[in-house]
Symmetry: none
């Protein structure tokens, strides 16, 4: 218990500090202070700043991959799959706001652009998205004239940008707003924005 407590306190503190300052400007001393533990304990448990950050990042990707695999394998109707993907992001925004902030501001950018590992993770996610888009096309639901590749970045881009704006504004996300956003994204993606 005591052990897990402190470990979790450090992880939580790290989530906050990484979100507030970004990886580069986050200080291990800040994290320790925020967690209410000594400097050395952070190293005792996590070894280095990079390891601590990677642990957080990893947990994000694992959640994301898990959800995507589930949707890919499920028998739900196609639209429902899209809704579930959107909901996953919105739910994470509600339940783990620091985690998703770090994702949109740090992970999906800097680390993706400047490390092999980051790039590979991103591409894996994109690949899972594409699989679902291909399925939509094969089921006759999506337009086959548009490449799955293009469909992926339009769909995902809409979600990511929405989340980014929420994070930037630190706006609260009520159930109602969740529904409206989901239906807006889904509607435009499927039926277009035209009047």
């Amino acid at each position: 218990m005591a052990r897990n407590d402190k470990q979790e306190m450090i992880i939580d503190a790290a989530l906050e500090v990484f979100r507030e300052k970004g990886y580069a400007n986050a200080r291990m001393a800040d994290i320790a202070r925020r967690a209410g533990v000594s400097y050395g304990l952070v190293y005792h448990y996590f070894g280095s700043k990079e390891v601590l950050f990677d642990l957080i990042v990893e947990s994000w990707w694992n959640d994301l991959y898990g959800m995507m695999e589930t949707e890919k394998a499920s028998n739900s109707r196609f639209r429902e799959k899209l809704v579930n993907i959107i909901q996953f992001f919105l739910d994470t925004y509600v339940n783990k706001p620091n985690l998703i902030s770090i994702f949109v501001s740090e992970v999906c950018r800097s680390s993706v652009y400047h490390t092999e590992e980051g790039l590979a993770r991103f591409l894996k996610f994109f690949s899972l998205c594409e699989d679902i888009m291909v399925e939509g096309q094969e089921r006759g639901i999506l337009n086959k004239e548009i490449s799955a590749h293009h469909l992926t970045y339009i769909f995902y881009g809409a979600i990511e940008t929405f989340i980014s704006v929420m994070v930037l504004g630190r706006e609260p996300l009520t159930k109602k707003r969740q529904e409206r956003a989901t239906s807006a994204i889904l509607h435009v993606f499927m039926d277009g924005a035209k009047a």
Copy 2:
């Protein structure tokens, strides 16, 4: 002349180094070496790392705002405005690849999330986008049931994600691919992805 030469060499070197390593990991010594000048000279002309970076960032935003203002004021048909916005990003990818790489990997993320200045710039761009979306709604071209806010992040998200993927893959962008991407984004945005 000699003065401008060296200044430009420094700017070009900075573009490369910031793209390759990101702001945090870019070294002033790297930039000076890449530019082939002493690193006192970088300070002589630009004062500090931050100023140098801001200069680059500023040039990006100014280009972007200029384009958006132009579209906003123009009498073109609505679809053409959207095409022009998409083209602006794609053209920049072709002509100033380092600049747009820095934008997607650094500016629109880290600096946006962690500085007031960055946030303000981003919101200004979003506001210009929204103005155009509102215009589309008022002209009866866009669906009024969807908020201009939502329309903005869907449209812009598609573009940004496409650019991100191009940057990540360092893929060459031929005229043909430009056209296909533009029409895919436009088609899905206006008419949806459904079969």
Copy 3:
């Protein structure tokens, strides 16, 4: 019993770790792990890294002084005394290889050069050596023209360097090699290396 067991396991582990890494690079955690005990226990028994090291060093010096005092007091023939001194080092190499490795690589150097205590111990040994050399001169066996001081460092230098080379090469020391080395050192020291 249990108590002595663990204490000895710690001492043995310390001997290994100090030999492998040297005092400066030896970690208390390494020693505890090697001994198979928690590292609180190392402190419980030995108080500090320095105390633990000193204990080992002390045991070496005590053995050495004991042997030297014995030889000094004994009525053996002079050559036999020299043989016994040489044999003491060689036997220790066989029976306590870690201990003598620590001696040649750490004790007789770093600690001797950088602490008062180390210096004093070394000089005490040298003084005992000199006493024996003086005895040899007085018995008419050693050349009185050469100072006991000089005789000491030539005799001891040969032994120490031989041991050093053995330690470096981690060479096994058979009975036969022991004899050959002993007789070589003795022969050169007494009769010279000339043809």
Copy 4:
């Protein structure tokens, strides 16, 4: 000039500090302070503590190898070669006391015992010594019954131990003492210590 001045001041300061405290306890801050330069300048020129130390160590080995090669190649009488080798160590003690102190207290021990590089350097020196001993045997000057290996460590051990004692006592080495020590070592090595 200015450049070399500071570099040399740092090297000199490093020689002093490494001698006084040993590698492990030497502080880069001490070296900078002693040299009268800023902390960063030591890194500007030398990159790291290890590089700085290695530079010093390297200079020692190069001097030593140079001398040994010269003796090996020369046509001098055999005894003269031995005298020159002894003199090299004694001269270095007079002219570069810090360097030789570092050698006997740090290099020829810790680094030799705990690094591949150190071991290799030591063995190279031993090999050069052996070559000279073999030459002595072939010229009929040294006893062929004693292996060149044994001859080497007896001869070198005497020198090293003498130097060690000098270093420990910080004794001044007059011309007269140099001569006495040289002749003592040479006499015992060639003709033995017997009366």
